[in-house]
Symmetry: C2
Subunit: 339 residues, 2 copies
DNA sequence: TTGAAAGCGCTAACAA
DNA sequence: TTGTTAGCGCTTTCAA
């Protein structure tokens, strides 16, 4: 590894001052075309790569946006990330994607690392702990903006984007009840405690609203976010003595995994058991049995969050909350083949 | 947004010099416990977040490792990323995950951005272009190490980790031939041209090695990496006048999507058509119909790459290539229910 | 159109 | 054990 060259080196080689090189690089002031040419070839010869350090020293920021999520590889977050990235790129920022696995310690590590890097800001889907999100202050302290996903005012005072998950849970179970199901299971799991809580609350609300005596809602949780852990829930449901006739899975990933397990066990969906997912990720439409689900505008959520972040970092305006409304999408996993 | 406080502020507030604060922060020299306490409370009061800029100026690097891949959300890369992250964290580095979508322009943007940030190094799964990977020199020029995934010596001189994909393709098709299939389709697609090429070459090799007159291998490619594009290939295969009796999909994602389409069209797997995937991601085992596939040690690949990166960045030793051998895993998508 | 010089936040060598 | 000081790579006045 040779010496890394600096603006000073480029300036010397081109026979100009560092100020001129800086002006050239930032289009800050006009630079004579002959001078430009000399600078350009000097940069080529010296393989100059500007360092962000110098810029940062002058109060500048890393041209990066952080995305801290519970389960980055989940198709839901993947779509959100795509929305964020598309907006971030318009502002010349790269996306730094960090996966906490729902672990608060890791979340804190990432927050600290990103704060140290003086990124423009971070979009955070917190591992909800009920203890507030004061560790996010570290980002603020470092001058980075914060936008929350799936949290509310009581959690932390920041711009936020979320979905009305109580309503979503309600829609899902209302649908199942309207199909005549009496024994319904709610399938939750780790990752997004707050979402789970709201979706379950909505599900319960639908049961109450139905006012039917024999209606039961049973809750079952996955033990982890791995596919194996999610698939295992399906086996547990199948083994239940009084097996439910319908399950509402609080995420599409759960629904997909549960459906896979049912198929392998020879349990037919929806004839033996109906399944509803949550989020409407691509997979649900194109699964072996297309899955009914609660649609959430994932990509839009990402874009909206990124826009909020960008405008907050530029003008530091007042905090805003955007709440999207979910809607029910009916597919074969609840109504069977149509027509 | 108040002023961001600096070491200078902390030092003043604690009534010590900046050097002492620095020593405290880096455990560089012993600091008296009374002094420590004063520094600590000053840091608290001022909400001090150290800036990486200062450190970087002194030749330091961002405690980050980059991962530039073609399709970050693909389960294959997710597992690789997990391997990288686990190793990176041991060295106190965060993972910056960047998704190129197979687009060389975006790959270059990310390379430049990471080079500017003076990261420790990057692990790159390039969008193979045949034109070499000279843009990766930018990382080198910035003093960052580079480790390649799925490329070979002819592409770029760097440490690398890959899989013997020719062998993998051979194993897959050999398996199908051994089951008596005569009309076989190879399903490829964008993302990892070099892998596609090798897997197809291996598949062809198996056909040739079989020395059977009526054996045909037809190639069909997906038009994109979206689930919809992948699912569409299944429909195209189903519509073929001389429909193949077996398909070898060059990735598990393709295999899963194709199987979904087949199921929706009422085509039975494996009775009507057998399917083999590639990589052995979790999904294949837990799909509705467990999918036969070519196992590749994804997590190990990530770990190995990260170890190479870390040791290169520390000692700049000679370049090393690790090639993993794939192996066949037989499941129901080719042999039906067993027992 | 260009240059000189100050300063950003931090580390490290040296002095006290 | 603590302080002084000289940079590190860059931007940005201000002057030429």
């Amino acid at each position: 590894m040779k010496q890394i060259s600096t603006m000073r080196d480029v300036a010397d080689r081109a026979g100009v001052s560092v100020a001129t090189v800086s002006n050239y690089l930032n289009d800050a002031k006009p630079v004579a075309s002959k001078t430009r040419a000399r600078i350009e070839s000097a940069m080529q010869e010296l393989k100059f790569v500007p360092s962000i350090a110098g810029r940062m020293m002058r109060g500048g920021r890393s041209a990066a946006v952080g995305f801290i999520s519970i389960d980055a590889p989940d198709p839901y977050f993947v779509e959100v990330a795509r929305g964020i990235e598309d907006v971030a790129r318009e502002s010349g920022c790269v996306l730094i994607s960090c996966n906490t696995g729902g672990d608060l310690t890791r979340e804190k590590q990432y927050v600290e690392a990103l704060a140290t890097m003086r990124i423009v800001g971070a979009i955070v889907h917190p591992a909800f702990t009920g203890a507030g999100e004061s560790h996010l202050d570290r980002l603020r302290d470092a001058g980075s903006s914060v936008v929350l996903l799936g949290a509310d005012e009581s959690d932390y005072d920041a711009c936020g984007v979320s979905t009305d998950d109580v309503r979503g849970g309600f829609l899902a179970v209302e649908h199942l009840i309207s199909l005549g199901h009496k024994r319904i299971a709610f399938v939750g799991g780790p990752g997004g405690e707050r979402q789970m809580r709201d979706r379950f609350a909505g599900a319960l609300g639908a049961v109450r609203a139905a006012c039917l005596a024999e209606l039961s809602l049973q809750r079952i949780d996955a033990s982890g976010t791995s596919i194996a852990a999610r698939a295992e829930v399906g086996a547990r449901i199948a083994a239940l003595s009084e097996r439910p006739t319908a399950v509402f899975c609080a995420s599409d990933s759960l629904a997909l995994a549960v459906c896979g397990t049912f198929a392998r066990l020879g349990i037919r969906v929806p004839e033996d058991i109906a399944v509803v997912g949550y989020a409407n990720t691509d997979q649900t439409e194109l699964a072996s049995i297309p899955i009914s689900t609660i649609a959430v505008p994932q990509y839009e959520i990402g874009r909206t969050a990124a826009h909020l972040l960008m405008s907050e970092s530029q003008s530091g305006h007042q905090h805003t909350r955007t709440v999207f409304q979910p809607r029910l999408i009916v597919r074969e996993s609840t109504v069977g083949h149509r027509g």
